[in-house]
């Protein structure tokens, strides 16, 4: 029910549940190409799954199979040094990287440096079930292996980095900023707060209590459904073979906004902001900009 493809197509075969049933019945990945390609990898099916299946991993493996690529299991396992220094770094997505003002504000608030390599090519390959150029992944992770904490603005990186660097603290940008009292206290009860769904759903068990506390403390509404699963806008999706059935971001945003009343929209990801500005007349801002606004 939380799946954006389900929300827009109401066709079970297009969802993870449909793919799983078809695979159990002997379907080949090629027969599920449209369904596999339509997935936003938002992970909303994962917390909804009563069996605890790693749904996003399976979908990524299907994409790899469709590309005749190799499995994610082939990723290098980087060992963290026991004397890991107390360092943190921000890995921005391309939209945040391009917005110098917002990026500067974010770095200043978090008081952490920017990663020299934002790994966008690796993430794109990962999302599309392709293997990055040989040696590229190892070079990317070499820099990260010296870190204690990594803040990512595209939540899909959470999954990817954890697969390679288990034990490292990887959190979403929104969560990192909301941990700052100056940011959190600026949220109003009349705000609609747009969580980056890929970061939230990838880490549901840990993120849900955190965001529940923020919601109860500030009184704001969030893009959570009744299951408390984050509804994605779909703006982050970089699927190259995005199928004809892929959900449209405008419809996703319309679903998020429908029936909700608010005075201001606060988004965790820069990519959502232009889409939200198109959809609403109220002010739209990035969570990093909250620190500049009036407080409660």
């Amino acid at each position: 029910m939380s799946c954006p493809i389900w929300q827009q197509s109401h066709e079970i075969l297009m969802t993870f549940a449909g793919r799983a049933l078809a695979l159990q019945a002997g379907a080949e990945p090629e027969e599920l190409k449209d369904s596999v390609g339509a997935c936003l990898l938002c992970g909303s099916c994962e917390p909804a799954c009563g069996m605890g299946i790693q749904t996003v991993d399976i979908t990524l493996k299907l994409r790899e199979a469709l590309n005749n690529g190799k499995s994610k299991d082939d990723l290098p396992q980087v060992q963290l040094s026991r004397s890991t220094p107390d360092r943190a770094v921000l890995i921005p997505d391309t939209a945040l990287l391009k917005n110098k003002d917002l990026l500067g504000r974010t770095l200043s608030l978090l008081d952490i440096p920017l990663a020299e390599d934002n790994g966008s090519d690796i993430l794109e390959a990962f999302e599309n079930g392709r293997r990055p150029i040989s040696g590229r992944v190892a070079a990317f992770y070499r820099e990260l292996s010296g870190m204690r904490k990594i803040v990512v603005s595209d939540g899909l990186f959470k999954r990817y980095i954890r697969a390679v660097l288990p034990g490292l603290e990887v959190i979403g940008l929104g969560e990192a900023l909301l941990r700052l009292p100056i940011v959190r206290s600026s949220l109003r009860p009349t705000d609609l707060y747009i969580i980056e769904a890929r970061a939230f759903n990838a880490d549901f068990k840990r993120c849900l209590p955190f965001y529940t506390e923020v919601r109860k403390q500030t009184g704001c509404i969030m893009n959570l459904d009744l299951q408390r699963i984050a509804i994605p806008t779909g703006a982050c999706c970089k699927a190259e073979f995005k199928s004809r059935s892929a959900p449209e971001s405008a419809k996703q945003i319309s679903w998020i906004l429908d029936g909700r009343s608010f005075d201001r929209v606060v988004a965790e990801t820069a990519e959502d902001i232009p889409l939200l500005k198109k959809a609403v007349t109220q002010p739209v801002m990035h969570v990093a900009e909250l620190a500049d606004g009036e407080t409660l």
Binding site: M1, H10, A22, A25, P209, D225, L226, R260
Partner: protein, 520 residues
């Protein structure tokens, strides 16, 4: 069925219909899958629909996902699938199906347990393609929605306007149309009746393909046939339902060691209209939970000031002390005590998760209960035979069913609720509402906790049959009497009543193509 009656129907060529053998008298006790439809006329059917702009998916991937239902016992594969998008394409489909005599099996959430929504070689009509909320009228407190929508999705749309449906099954994937067709029970059914009783009007596509609006005022006969009609008399494509303001609920749990006492207290709560929500959920024969909840503080206060002292159930602390004393005197039952402790430790926090609570009130009862049910009672299959009885027969039926559970499974749960009735509506005839029930009916599901144990199909079927045999013996009804359990229909209802409905069915569905093998 009396042979002369059968001959009378068979003798009329215009009304000749393929009635499956096990809908007749002398049916075998253990049912198996219905036989697969031969496929004669399929290609012409598909070609006609294609030319009319209705595309049937015939890929193996599309068909294979419908192989079974929630019960996981009945297995079948459709020849093709249509995801319904409009009443018009459902209409075209049923007209062509009548002409080419193609069986059409309708599916919503697929939560039947006896294969009622499983297609055995015909067309699978997936209604979930029609899942839009069409109009919310907060002035008149009604909502119009397409009938393939899940209740949970409907709640999602209503909640944003501070509204809620009246009553729906406590799971995430029951569809509106499917529920209206069988009844629908919630823990607030003592107050609002079964879910079907909140329907104000329906758009129905008849088995011959006519699109008809019906309500208590307009086409009332069809309205009454379709509600609790087990999909026999039409496909519900849209429904207008009563709604209400959304209220978080305050939950209370009372614990009993006696099944009989808990049932008597449930009846007291239901018939005196004391609580807004009430139901029994057992953990062990000697650990029974009576759930009581309220929509308002006033109702809750009234309960505690006037009625609480009349309930024999204990609070959590009192019950824990009693159980500790019991197991201290019965040390050889240590395994049972540990099971209970573990259940309590794991289950209780799941019933008040912070994300779904607000000021100590539960805001999403469907999410909380369906997750808890899945986690603590779920398994590969839903095996939940039931008995639906009048108030007089309820306690005895439950006790007899409980004794059957004890013989078949180490652990099981009983889920009991009361259901308000609204007079003697025609829809209650040949339905889950027992014919002898007045004002309130009662239902009990007997749910083995299957866990990771493997039980053979015969074991599970024999268990179900023994529960259903109690119904025959006591003259009750069942919530699930279709599909593989349809052999019980003539045993529990009388031939005259079943023949009456069969004649209506044959009149409405001359080729008997809509949801075959469910009732007839």
């Amino acid at each position: 069925m009396p042979q002369d009656n059968l001959h009378e129907i068979k003798g009329n060529k215009n009304r000749l219909a393929p009635v499956t053998p096990d809908s007749l008298t002398g049916v075998p006790r253990q049912q198996t899958n219905p036989s697969r439809w031969s496929g004669s006329g399929w290609d012409a059917f598909v070609a006609e629909l294609n030319s009319a702009g209705v595309n049937i998916s015939q890929s193996s991937a599309a068909r294979s996902i419908y192989i079974t239902d929630g019960g996981g016992v009945a297995m079948g594969l459709p020849r093709g699938v249509l995801v319904a998008r409009s009443s018009e394409n459902v209409s075209k489909t049923l007209k062509a199906a009548q002409k080419h005599r193609v069986p059409v099996t309708v599916r919503g959430g697929g939560l039947t347990t006896e294969g009622e929504c499983v297609s055995y070689g015909g067309l699978q009509l997936d209604m979930r393609g029609m899942s839009r909320v069409l109009h919310i009228d907060s002035a008149n407190m009604t909502v119009r929605a397409e009938a393939g929508i899940y209740w949970h999705s409907l709640a999602e749309a209503l909640r944003r306007q501070g509204l809620d449906y009246l009553s729906a099954p406590l799971n995430m994937t029951s569809s509106v149309g499917g529920t209206l067709g069988v009844g629908g029970i919630d823990i607030n059914s003592p107050k609002f009746g079964c879910s079907a009783d909140q329907a104000i009007s329906l758009k129905v596509v008849t088995p011959t393909g006519y699109i008809v609006e019906c309500s208590e005022q307009v086409n009332p006969e069809l309205f009454e046939q379709v509600l609790l009609g087990y999909g026999q008399f039409g496909v519900i494509t849209e429904a207008t339902l009563k709604i209400r303001p959304f209220t978080p609920i305050r939950m209370h749990y009372f614990y009993y060691s006696s099944l009989k006492e808990s049932i008597e207290d449930l009846r007291f709560l239901v018939e005196e209209e004391i609580a807004d929500y009430a139901g029994i959920l057992t953990m062990l024969d000697r650990a029974i939970n009576l759930l009581v909840a309220f929509d308002s503080d006033e109702r809750e206060q009234e309960f505690f000031s006037r009625y609480r002292s009349r309930l024999r159930g204990h609070g959590e602390i009192g019950f824990t002390l009693r159980m500790a004393a019991h197991y201290a005197l019965h040390p050889w039952k240590v395994k049972e005590a540990l099971y209970l402790l573990e259940r309590k430790r794991a289950l209780l926090p799941e019933l008040s998760p912070s994300a779904h609570m607000q000021d100590n009130k539960m805001v999403d009862r469907t999410v909380v209960f369906s997750r808890a049910v899945w986690k603590f009672w779920g398994g590969r299959q839903m095996v939940i035979p039931d008995l639906a009885t009048s108030r007089e027969k309820f306690a005895r039926a439950v006790e007899r069913g409980n004794a059957v559970c004890r013989r078949y499974f180490p652990n099981y749960t009983l889920y009991c609720v009361g259901i308000r009735l609204f007079g003697s509506r025609p829809r209650y005839e040949l339905s889950c509402i027992p014919p002898d029930a007045q004002d309130f009916a009662y239902g009990c599901e007997f749910e083995p906790i299957l866990g990771d144990h493997y039980y053979s199909r015969d074991h599970l079927q024999s268990f179900k049959n023994e529960i259903y045999d109690i119904g025959v013996d006591m003259g009750t009804s069942y919530y699930r009497f279709g599909g593989m359990m349809k052999g019980y229909i003539r045993r529990v209802f009388n031939n005259e009543l079943v023949d009456k409905h069969l004649r209506i069915k044959q009149e409405a569905d001359p080729a008997m193509i809509l949801n075959p093998d469910v009732i007839f």
